[in-house]
Amino acid sequence: MTEKLLDLRGVSKSFGGLRVISQLDLHVDEGEIVSVIGPNGAGKTTLFNLVTGVYAPDEGDIVFEGGTLLGLDPHEITTRGIARTFQTLRLFLNMTVKENVMAAAYGHTRAGILRSVLRTPGMRREEQAIAQLAEQRLSFFGQRLMGYRWDQPAFSLSYANRRRLEIARATATNPRLLLLDEPAAGMNPVETHEIAELIGRLRDEGGYTILVIEHDMHVVEGISDRVVALDHGVKIAEGSFERVATDPRVVEAYLGTKAAASK
């Protein structure tokens, strides 16, 4: 039986009077690619924020690899093995491409200030390992972020490359679970197709378990083992893409009651 890698049980979250997530049960098994869909305001990014510890749930539990994530600081959750990208890109724009990725290796490296200043052999070995790790993660995207690009500041990258860099940076934390928040947002059809392929490769070659928020149904259809649909913070459907896409409640959430009725 596959282990539930991530398990949310009865999670609720309110902001002021607004209930953003309501009694949510959601799980991701190891090796799965699960897509979360839903209209804007459905609580999808809030879900990510809850899992990564940016917010604390009002009710319920979030369990990862058998241990609870409640009460942990976000950076602790990341070192436990969960990494994410952001809906609105949050790169370290004034740092180089390579530095962005190397920075994310902090959580699983050890050299402190003293050893860095003294340049101990251990520290130097670790620096080399970090550099190699960064190069390897960046090579995942083909030639796009390789070679001369390593020393370019992140703000000089094109939009699509910035999205790729953010994914590369997230993988540098050596996660088991990747949370991708609208990875194909703003991309043209060719780039979107590439991203969909990339997500598949991330799971197949990289071994990551992936939870994706996505609006583009082609991507969702192409990559998902399972789809979860949210609306107003409540799970309204779950299952394969075909089942969820034709679920009348999902259609209603996206298109309104008349559309659901006409189905």
Binding site: H75, N94, M95, M102, A103, G107, G112, S116, V117, R149
Partner: protein, 490 residues
Amino acid sequence: MATDPTDPNAPRVGVDEWVASHEQRRVRRTGLLGVVERELERVPSPAFYLAFGVAAAILPALTSNGYVIKVGLDTLLYMLLALGLNITVGYAGLLDLGYVAFYGFAAYGYAMLASPKFGLHWATVGVIPLVVLATVILGFLVALPSRRLVGDYLAIVTLFFGELFATVYQNGEHMSLLGFTKAKDVTGGPNGIPNIDQFHVFGARIGTLNYTAYYYVALIFFMVLLLAMYLVDRSRTGRAWKSLREDPLAAELMGIPVNRLKLVAFACGAGIAGLAGTVFAAANTAVFASEFDFTSGLLIIVYAMLILGGAGSLGGVILGALVVNVSLEVLRTPGHATWVFYVLIAGTLVARVRPWRWLALVIAGTAGFGFVVHAIVSAAWPRGVHGQAPVGGVLGSGLGHWVILPSNPMTIGNVAFVFLVLAVLALTLLRGWAQRLAMIPTLYLAAFVWENRLAVEPSVTRLILVGVILIVLMNARPQGLLGTSRVEIV
């Protein structure tokens, strides 16, 4: 036909030319300054630091003027302070407005452990590390409750802490523990702590007021810390600090313990200020709390240095401290200051007024305007021109015929100062030929105010100047703190 890989004009396959040439699209200064800047950028930083180190080391050999050495020592102390503040502000992005309190705390700490005050004369090799450690701990303690604060709140808390420190130490000549113990003289109050021990190591003791020796001590400390910062910059902690400055939330979510690193940055900055404080105390042989409060301007001056040089940049620390402190020193003597004032005005005009015809017009116009006004005033009201120009020689006598120097310049000088501020502000609102014509009376007014009021009270003038520097710098370079204006490709 194969492409020659060494030909710079050959097409580079697989290279996105637009992106690869992004360096060329950075905002650059034109003209002479631009050329200088580009050449400077080619020099790798370690070479620059080394050159600075060598130059600074030779300086005392080149001059026997004690005053110059003292200025050099002060500059080095400022550099140390800027280096420490650079970690807190430039790397971790924490606005610490109470930074100078760490400097003062360490200076007093050294004074308490190595002076007749409490009869303690501990060995230098023990006191310095102890005081630095104590300052680091103090930094931790201040940062601890503040670590969850957004930048603005941290600014207030630290600002108040700085003032609290100065107030407590200023009134420390009768301190009692909340009224439970008898009042004791802990900090010497307004009289401070005098007769501080000089550094002594293995029997060798630095002579009192031997600024040259302290100069070298400060230089060694600075170069060592500079090297350390350079190495940290290229390490995991340096990257983490930079990420923290860029985007604290993203950094936290990439596994970087943001709060912990903020504490460390804060404490490191405090520690460096602590080290500088011990040198300050020993070199000056006495400490007074008033030197560390807000009105002394120390905090503002260090910030001005940091920003002028570009926070986050190590070379900037050196440059900023050098430029600001040397400028402020020059401003102390009215004679030198006046020369610098006019040279600066002339320089700014040359740099900003284009084309040359306008430049000539403005300069000639100001000169002519001045002579005319001076003639009218001396004819109509002789007492208006009998005052003294603060500078002698050729410049002085020239100015005597150009600038109006009333025999009693106080009131009219003050009024003119206010008008000058308003005029300069109005000048920023004008454009084109109106702006250039308006420059003429404004420049003349500036000379009037300078000769009659500003040059005469250099201690206040230098502080006014620092305030103006901060305002102008931040408005001219709002991204200001990071050095390069960037051209973003979206």
